[in-house]
């Protein structure tokens, strides 16, 4: 057990898996010679060589397609996007080829591959580089979507993703790469569709994933000062989603706030909210509330960006609304 950064945890997962299985390769922009744009792949070229750690041109459609083809032909590629904001260029390979060909071939072709990289906003990067894509990928049948919030989770989840025979979207965050946490040295796996509860409470359930999990934790700390005990759930996996954990929590708290960095319309929060009203209807003491970015592209100006991105205050306001404390 030692304290590791988020980026180290991801690297360890990949390195350990690549040592174990020679069919695993990694491809992406700057992953080899430059040690990765965010130093996630540092030292991997040295250990595994050019045949397994491959620098690509700036061509997401191209290397996503090469990755999909490699997966069809027996390799287990990891495709790194410098950010998922760039993955939209190659999205046809992800949504159509990787996600659907196993289904269309009647199961004859497998896609054991992982598309990974940072997701969502990371400060003043402008509208086109600040989108949270988890809702979009979770919408497509054939894709599994993971979005860890802490280094420990990231390592255990990425190993599960690499070993899976279906395409997995693995979302990270530029702003979380330096986050530190104790991570075991021995091997562990975290399965799909299992959330985590690190903070228990009786007054409200806050469901938050990725970067927003940390916003929710900050809000929960503040709320505790007012005597409101929030239970904070990180579903960790967007699809399959641990609805059972959320519903069981709401049976105890009777109230729910969902914090989601996606846009609100048809986003993760909308889907989670739907299932809650259907499966926990008789346990709800207040309408489910959500905190998301607005239905507006990210502004560049700092003052506007700070208004745009949800913080603990919005979460606290939503919790007070559902607990009738305002």
């Amino acid at each position: 057990m030692s304290v590791k950064q988020f980026r180290d945890a991801i690297r360890e997962a990949m390195v350990e898996e690549m040592r174990r299985d020679e069919s695993i390769i990694i491809m992406g922009e700057e992953v080899a010679e430059y040690d990765g744009a965010y130093k996630v792949t540092q030292g991997m070229l040295e250990e595994f060589g050019l045949r397994r750690v491959i620098d690509t041109p700036i061509s997401e459609l191209g290397f996503s397609g090469i990755g999909a083809g490699a997966a069809m032909n027996g390799l287990r590629p990891i495709i790194e996007f410098m950010t998922f904001n760039f993955a939209v260029v190659g999205i046809d390979q992800i949504l159509n080829n990787a996600a659907k060909i196993r289904y269309m071939s009647g199961g004859q072709v497998k896609f054991p591959m992982v598309f990974r990289g940072p997701n969502a906003s990371a400060g003043q990067l402008g509208a086109t580089h600040s989108v949270a894509y988890e809702s979009l990928y979770a919408h497509i049948p054939g894709l599994k979507v993971m979005y860890p919030s802490e280094p420990y989770d990231a390592k255990g989840m990425l190993k599960t993703a690499i070993r899976d025979d279906d395409p997995v979207i693995f979302l990270e965050s530029e702003q979380m790469y330096a986050m530190k946490q104790e991570v075991p040295d021995e091997e562990y796996l975290i399965p799909f569709g299992v959330g985590k509860i690190k903070r228990e409470g009786d007054d409200v359930t806050i469901v938050a994933h990725g970067k927003m999990y940390h916003i929710a934790q900050q809000a929960a700390k503040e709320l505790a000062k007012d005597g409101i005990e929030a239970e904070v759930i990180d579903p960790r996996c967007m699809k399959p989603f641990d609805f059972k954990m959320v519903i069981e929590s709401i049976k105890k708290t009777n109230r729910c706030v969902i914090v989601d960095e996606s846009h609100p319309f048809a986003g993760m929060a909308a889907e989670i909210g739907f299932v809650i009203q259907r499966d926990a209807f008789d346990y709800l003491d207040a309408p489910v509330q959500r905190v998301t970015i607005p239905d507006v592209p990210a502004p560049f100006a700092k003052n506007l960006f700070d208004l745009w991105l949800p913080g603990p205050k919005q979460v606290i306001d939503a919790v007070k609304a559902v607990t009738y404390k305002n």
Binding site: P287, P310, N326
Partner: protein, 432 residues
């Protein structure tokens, strides 16, 4: 400004009305008080009056159309006025709504201030219900409550409408149900203390009882009379009968050897004769038809141990006092011994219940199905009556007819009672 005329509520139970006739056509001038249409309601055809002057711009409903309450039937206004907005706008009369508008906005603003529920896509959420008044949590009979509060109230048998909601727009929430329990339970300690004392001084009265098993007859009485009371719309009419001549006649009859006539026999005979003259009383409601019985079979209620039975005197109208008297006594005796055969209790067309012998002045009886009527007979009282301007001793008896209103109407019941009275007041007529 154009005015919408909508289907008025012309009777308490009316839900829609049919335009029977328009008295005006489009383009006609009308003034306040004019009858513009006739509308058939569930009860009658009623006039529809206008309360404004103007020109009939549009008859929205045609003759024969059935329009729900509040639905537009016509529009009145100034000639040439544009009414397209009113026609699209649905049934609400806009002119009525208008003055309320500013008030609503006030309460909306107020609500936004103290309610921060916010959705990133839809904005201030509690606007959903902000057009309604702030305090009441009832919305046309519907109580606003969170699903949890609703479930808790149901489980605990709490009437939601009696709980004051503390949530937005008066929504009843978990805390209100918990608070309500606490309130309801609060006064308990006092009675408890009282109860303890009472328990010391006397044995708990509620604990001292005996359960009597329900026998078949009691079950039948319970079922049939409940059914009768709760399905037959009963009404009651009482008449006071001068029994002076009946008393005299009975005395002379009973003076003869081997003759024993009771007042009850005379009432039974009088009813039989009256039923012949008013066959509609001698009827049964069968759901799809009313059956008028051509024979008169009068049942007489007989008190027996643990209940009562109603033996039937067949063809009562064709029997004399003595015969009726004998038969009643034989059947009553059998009833008391519980030896009545089913056919001796079946087929009645009318029933008489007499409690006169107990001194009951008057009472009402529950109809014995499938009869349409039952007669409750009271005691013959010695009362002062006025005859030719002088107070003299008199003999009076009250009888009350219970009727099933599905079969018998008030006037018919009254006519039957009048006949019955005249028969008993001039009893010699029955001997003919």
């Amino acid at each position: 400004m154009a005015i919408v005329i909508d289907m008025p509520k012309l009777s308490d139970t009316m839900e829609e009305g049919v335009i029977a006739k328009w008295n005006v056509k489009e383009g006609d001038k009308v003034s306040s008080g004019d009858i513009i249409a006739e509308v058939e309601t569930d009860k009658a055809t009623m006039d529809v009056e206008v309360f404004d002057d103007g020109t009939v711009l549009k008859l929205v409903a045609s003759e024969g159309d059935s329009i729900p309450l509040g639905g537009i039937i016509a529009i009145i206004g100034d000639e040439g006025e544009d009414i397209s907005g009113l026609l699209d706008g649905g049934s609400d009369s806009k002119s009525k709504e208008a003055p309320k508008q500013p008030k609503k906005n006030d309460s909306e603003a107020e609500e936004k201030k103290d309610d921060k529920a916010f959705d990133p896509l839809f904005g201030e959420l509690e606007g959903e219900a902000s057009s309604e008044e702030k305090v009441p949590n009832e919305d046309g009979g519907r109580v606003k409550a969170s699903p949890l509060a609703r479930k808790m109230a149901e489980e605990q048998g709490i009437d939601l409408s009696s709980v004051k909601g503390s949530g937005p727009n008066g929504r009843v929430v978990k805390a209100d149900i918990e608070g309500f329990e606490a309130k309801a339970e609060a006064p308990k300690p006092e009675p408890k203390a009282e109860q303890k004392q009472a328990a010391k001084t006397a044995t708990a009265p509620a604990a001292n009882y005996e359960d009597i098993p329900i026998n078949q007859m009691r079950k039948t009485i319970a079922r049939r009379l409940s059914e009768s009371m709760f399905t037959n719309p009963h009404f009651y009419e009482t008449i006071d009968i001068d029994m002076k001549k009946a008393v005299q006649m009975r005395e002379s009859l009973n003076a003869m050897p081997d003759v024993k006539v009771s007042f009850n026999d005379m009432v039974v005979k009088a009813c039989a004769v009256a039923l012949r003259r008013h066959p509609k009383i001698n009827s049964s409601w069968l759901g799809d038809v009313i059956r008028m019985h051509k024979d008169v079979h009068i049942a007489v209620a007989v008190a027996v141990e643990d209940g009562l039975l109603t033996p039937v005197i067949r063809d009562t109208d064709r029997k004399g006092f003595a015969e009726i008297g004998n038969e009643v006594r034989v059947l009553a005796g059998k009833a008391k011994e519980k030896k009545l055969q089913p056919d001796q209790m079946e087929g009645s067309t009318f029933t008489i219940s007499n409690l006169g012998m107990f001194g009951i002045e008057e009472f009402t009886a529950i109809i014995n199905p499938p009869n349409a009527c039952i007669l409750a007979v009271g005691a013959i009282r010695d009362v002062p009556v006025i005859e030719n301007g002088e107070v003299v001793p008199g003999k009076r008896m009250k009888v009350t007819l219970s009727s099933d209103h599905r079969v018998v109407d008030g006037a018919l019941a009254a006519q039957f009672l009048q006949t019955l009275r005249s028969l008993l007041e001039e009893p010699m007529g029955m001997l003919l």
